[in-house]
Amino acid sequence: MSELPKALESFNPVEPSPRTELQRRRDRWFRGLCLAIACSSVAILGLLLISIAYQGATSINSTFLSGSHDPENPEQAGMYPSIIGSLLLCLLCGAVSLPIGVAAAVYLEEFQPKNRWLRQLHGLVQLNISNLAGVPSVVYGLLGLTMFVYMFQLFGKLEKNQVSGIDFWGVQRYYQFVAADDLTVIMVPLTDRTKSTLEIQEACPAYDTDFNPIELVVWDSRTPAPSDPEVLSRTVRQGEVGAAVEIYNWYYFRVPFGPSLLAAALTLSLVILPIIVIASQEALRAVPNSLREASAGMGATRWQTVQQVTLPSALPGVLTGAILAMGRAIGEAAPIFVVLGGNIARRTGPEHLMDSCVTMPILIFAWADNPVEQYRQLAAAAIIVLVALLLVMNSVAIYLRGRT
């Protein structure tokens, strides 16, 4: 028979021993310390939001939301191009990485092979995704810079601040002329890209600004001018010099991409790909196995099960993860800075895929880095807009998560 422990021998429930008292006191202290430290993170969040709101709230007005960066005049500066740029970038990036990420997650979760070698490949993909999530985003930026912006210089050397490359579609090049009535603009198609100007000597195919073909009349200024205003509007003086203009459609495509919206979006989609895969995997894992078994019992193949049972029931979780990843993409600055550079002087959002683009974090970075105090206040105002946008996205995500 074992002996009774000492603590129980002298057990007195009314008056606990000094040692027990000490333990209890320590426990209370520890609990208080934990609570204080846990609350300090809330306090830090509060301090951060309040100090930024205090700094920037006065700068938010309609000029700020609709204007663009003004290097001389901080009062006139605004962030409209960056809002459009961030939203477009985020949409494009989601459109690329969401399908790929969810597909990779479905493969990892729903198609686990029985073959030993394939199982090892599976483990390798899984490990690789965890590692990709740990790669610094600035390294992704450098990958985007060499792979998308310069394309490993396969298409010739791309100089900084100079656009070159091979066009695929979506661009028309014209020489622009002013007609003899000094009002109408006439476009003549460009054939040789090396010539930036064209001198008109004889009639050639021409278009008006709506791209309807017109009959060009070349007028020698020594002879009397045509009197009919209709003819005059499609008449060009002989020897008139027109400059080359380029008209882009939104789907303009060229290689290499250069510092463009598309390059930035592809780079960002690489950054958030591992996040989307991991979040989708968790959502798929949360679907009860009985659903899959029921579907298989009805004779469905694995893909039919995924398509009609597993994915629909995991959809809220997948969407939550996707929205959180989009939030990450909107707030990410380093890879975009590497790909697009820090230029914030733009008056509009990106107009085609190969257009350069300003995003909110880049604008905030440039303003915060500016030694002029007023620009720093503008940075705080831009942060308020960005954080408000992110909070909206997060609440949508939390709402969706609540519905699972």
Partner: protein
């Protein structure tokens, strides 16, 4: 005809065709092929990163002005200050020491605070407090890094200078504190996952022996979840190493080889940003030096992440 409770049995079952139809199986093969391609695409991404870093940094390491030994052991880094290529010194130690100073300070904040918050959340917190703390931490985790950089120069740096005037305007401490705040939610959520995976039976065993909650948390739950906790710390460490925007804004632009946390300290990521901001052309040795720095950064963070994964997998205690 087989009839079950008055309902006719489907044709497929009557004819004993239990397998999926041929077209379903064919499209199945196509879809699986596409899914496999996506999964293999993620591996291709890793390969591309490594190939890109090695190929581009080869341009740097193979140039006559650079030697690998000097790169790894030199204590001067003047890629941006020096205009003449022959006089430029490429020694990575100042950048490395800057990175480690900032990361060290960040971890001094993120590790204890994150771990204790995680202990509180998993062991002590009532539902009401959880409902406040969890969303706050999630919001903190979702705030863009550039905001923390701004916070560092707006508030932390002036506060430090008020505390002691010997701090530079841009210094390692303010950047480190901001990076620490940024990593706190990461440590906390990963550590909390690990702690709450410890089965309740272990806790109940401690209570039945007369242990207090503190005894339970410190003596049993944390040791039982140690692999997860350490891997959370390592992941936060590698996140802090690669953090870019905060240090670009708050840590300063001169690469100093010291241990003094009050001085400016350009980090590896900070140098990459500064180099891209400068007007040096793509193709110069100085420009390619950023790929050399990026390769070093990648090797370190990759090692950390890998170590974290291995610790988590190998030393995980599996409870039934």
């Amino acid at each position: 005809m087989i009839v079950n409770r008055g309902l006719p049995v489907p044709n497929a079952l009557q004819n004993k065709r239990y397998r999926a139809t041929g077209s379903a199986r064919r499209s199945e093969r196509l879809v699986v092929g596409a899914l496999v391609a996506c999964a293999l695409g993620t591996i291709a991404l890793s390969v591309l990163i490594v190939v890109m870093l090695i190929k581009e940094s080869w341009n740097f390491f193979s140039s006559p002005q650079v030697s690998l030994v000097e790169f790894l052991s030199g204590s001067e880094w003047t890629a941006l200050e020096e205009k003449e290529l022959d006089k430029v010194k490429f020694g990575i130690l100042p950048l490395l020491s800057g990175t480690l100073r900032v990361t060290g300070i960040a971890m001094l904040i993120a590790w204890p605070l994150g771990l204790i918050t995680a202990i509180y959340l998993s062991e002590f917190a009532s539902k009401r407090i959880r409902r406040v703390l969890k969303p706050a931490l999630e919001v903190l985790a979702g705030i863009p890094t550039v905001v923390f950089g701004y916070f560092a120069i707006l508030l932390i740096s002036p506060a430090l200078q008020w505390f002691s005037p010997s701090f530079d305007t841009f210094n390692a401490t303010s950047a480190g504190i901001a990076v620490g705040i940024l990593c706190l939610p990461l440590v906390c959520s990963l550590a909390e996952d690990a702690l709450s995976a410890v089965p309740t039976s272990l806790r109940e065993a401690v209570y039945s022996l007369g242990g207090t909650r503190m005894n339970t948390a410190v003596g049993v739950v944390v040791p039982a979840a140690l692999s997860g906790v350490i891997s959370a710390m390592l992941l936060a460490f590698s996140r802090a190493l690669g953090e870019t925007m905060v240090v670009a804004l708050a840590a300063g632009t001169s690469a100093t080889f010291t241990l003094d946390p009050r001085q400016q300290s350009q980090t590896m990521t900070g140098f990459i940003v500064e180099m891209l901001k400068s007007d040096l052309e793509y193709g110069t040795v100085q420009y390619y030096s950023l790929f050399g720095v990026a390769l070093a950064l990648f090797v370190i963070t990759f090692g950390m992440t890998m170590l974290g994964q291995i610790i988590r997998r190998r030393y995980r205690e599996v409870y039934q």
